[in-house]
């Protein structure tokens, strides 16, 4: 379970997140939506401990993420899998090596790597592409490699930051099916997205953030027009937003 309790983070005068409290249960599938600059990335970065909270606590697996010392941060991140919008594959490594790399750097034994990488490739349906370089793959396939890399260390939580942002709708759905499949295997999935079609079709829990505050949290939620990028909407005080459920 992930629990944010009164978490605030400012960047100088700019609000990142403002007194956010919410919790995400094990095995949940959650969309994090909101306009650009609303605090979605701050939310994710705080959980990854890429930045420090000014106030509040983030509980995960019985410890407080905000209190982690630098020595303990790597262990925390190992229990999380991350997929980025821009895939972040290493261009000079093959598909197999890119996935194996995630295991090498956490110093898993070679025999474990040899067993797990093919399993991950199989899950994302890229067994035949194992020896190709990323630029020989389609964009959708590259993102599937990134998903395979994120799950190969068997994390409990998968964080996907706009994983379909650079994909055409059809390829985007491939990734969504993959994420749903991973979720069905018991992993918690937290996905940051802008895609109205995906949010509306998936019928999952939706947490909407605006100006650093959670303005909506509903199960089986839909994407609201307010969550589109609009500087005027962003600037409006959050009291005018839809009520919390």
């Amino acid at each position: 379970m992930i629990e944010f309790r009164g978490v605030s983070k400012k960047y100088g005068a700019n609000i990142g997140v403002d007194d956010i409290s919410t919790s995400i249960g094990d095995g949940e599938f959650v969309f994090l939506v909101g306009p650009s600059g609303a605090g979605k990335s701050t939310f994710v970065k705080l959980f990854l401990k890429m930045i420090d909270a000014d106030k509040g606590h983030i509980f995960y697996k019985g410890y407080d993420v905000t209190k982690l010392t630098p020595r303990l941060v790597p262990a925390h991140r190992r229990s999380l899998g991350i997929v980025f919008q821009d895939f972040s594959l290493l261009p000079k490594k093959t598909v197999y090596e890119n996935i194996a790399f995630a295991m090498e750097i956490v110093q898993r034994p070679t025999r474990v790597i040899k067993r797990m990488v093919p399993q991950a490739l199989d899950l994302v349906g890229l067994t035949k592409e194992a020896n190709k370089l990323p630029n020989e793959l389609s964009i959708g396939e590259q993102q599937r490699v990134a998903v395979a890399r994120a799950i190969v260390n068997n994390p409990d939580v998968l964080i996907a930051d706009e994983p379909t942002g650079n994909l055409d709708p059809e390829t985007g759905w491939e990734i969504m099916r993959l994420l749903e499949q991973i979720n069905r295997r018991g992993k918690t999935v937290l996905m940051v997205t802008h895609s109205r079609e995906i949010v509306n079709a998936m019928n999952k829990r939706v947490i909407a953030i605006r100006s650093g505050k959670i303005v909506r949290d509903e199960r089986g939620g839909l994407y609201h027009p307010d969550e589109d990028d609009d500087p005027l909407v962003c600037a409006r005080p959050s009291e005018e937003a839809l009520p919390l459920t």
Binding site: K49, R78, L80, S88, F101, A102, I105, N153
Partner: protein, 295 residues
């Protein structure tokens, strides 16, 4: 991934970044060469100073010809009681002449031509503490039967002062050079780090420890430092060898002290340079990575 893998990665990094690796290798080598010259100067100055100090830890007391054995024994006892005196020895005028002949070597026949021995009998005082030498001189001079006390306090003081200055100046220059080379290495490695920024970001997201990420870069710095150390110690050793061949004898005649042994010096230089080169390389890479590993 293990130490072996980190070594492999360090080498491939140097390979990918040949020009900059060569540039920092050249810079560190150049800096170590200058450092080596200072090192040699300091070591030889120290050596010379030690030699001179040993020459000067004796005070020679010339005795009047009228002093007989009984008076001489009395004098020796009085001198031995002074603080800072380690011991005394009696040197007859004949023994003194023999010593001169030895010192002059080939030119000793000049002494033979003297009609009579011009040297007086003397008492040699071994000084245990050079700082007390002036007090001993002051204590001995007024004693009855003492013709003259021979001790060059000024020379010793001046020499010790010069040695001190040379040591301090060299130390400052050496520290400055080390600082510069750390900067040079850290800049080179920063380029490799920037080139691999994406890889490092992924490593951090996946949960690699900072030391794991640092490893290959650290080794890269260490390799560059070590190779520079070997090159510069060899060059200095060879140059020093030729220098001694060419000027060693002149130096001996001029200062009556010889150069520090070349093998001894080169070996020590290699050890010191290796330690320095490795630390410079390691510090350089840690400095250059600090920003990238903050979180």
């Amino acid at each position: 991934m293990s130490f072996r893998l980190a070594i492999g990665q360090a080498f491939s990094q140097i390979g990918r970044n040949k020009v900059m690796a060569a540039a920092s290798l050249a810079s560190i080598t150049a800096i170590l060469l200058v450092l080596g010259v200072f090192f040699i100067v300091v070591v030889n100055v120290n050596n010379m100073a030690e030699g001179v100090k040993q020459d000067f830890d004796q005070i020679q007391v010339y005795l009047e010809d009228s002093v007989d054995d009984a008076r001489r024994a009395e004098l020796e006892a009085q001198i031995a009681a002074l603080p800072g005196v380690a011991g005394t020895a009696y040197l007859t005028r004949e023994e003194a002449l023999e010593q001169w002949k030895l010192k002059w070597g080939e030119n000793a026949d000049l002494l033979e031509r003297m009609p009579e021995n011009p040297l007086p009998n003397s008492i040699i005082i071994d000084v245990s503490d050079l700082d007390l030498a002036s007090a001993i001189v002051a204590g001995v001079s007024p004693l009855e039967g003492v013709e003259k006390v021979n001790y060059s306090q000024d020379t010793v003081d001046r020499l010790l002062h010069v040695t001190r200055v040379v040591q301090i100046v060299s130390l400052i220059i050496i520290l400055f050079l080390i600082f510069i080379s750390v900067m040079v290495v850290s800049n080179t490695i920063k380029l490799t780090v920037v080139a691999r920024e994406k890889e490092i970001a992924i490593m951090r997201y996946v949960g690699a420890t900072n030391w794991f990420i640092r490893g290959p870069f650290l080794l890269e710095g260490v390799f560059i430092g070590l190779i520079s150390a070997i090159i510069s110690a060899t060059v200095i050793g060879v140059l020093y060898h030729y220098f001694i061949d060419r000027w060693g004898v002149d130096f001996l005649l001029l200062t009556s002290s010889s150069f520090v042994d070349e093998w001894f010096l080169t070996q020590n230089l290699l050890i010191i340079f290796a330690a320095l080169g490795i630390s410079i390389g390691a510090c350089g890479s840690i400095v250059s990575m600090r920003k990238f590993l903050e979180r």
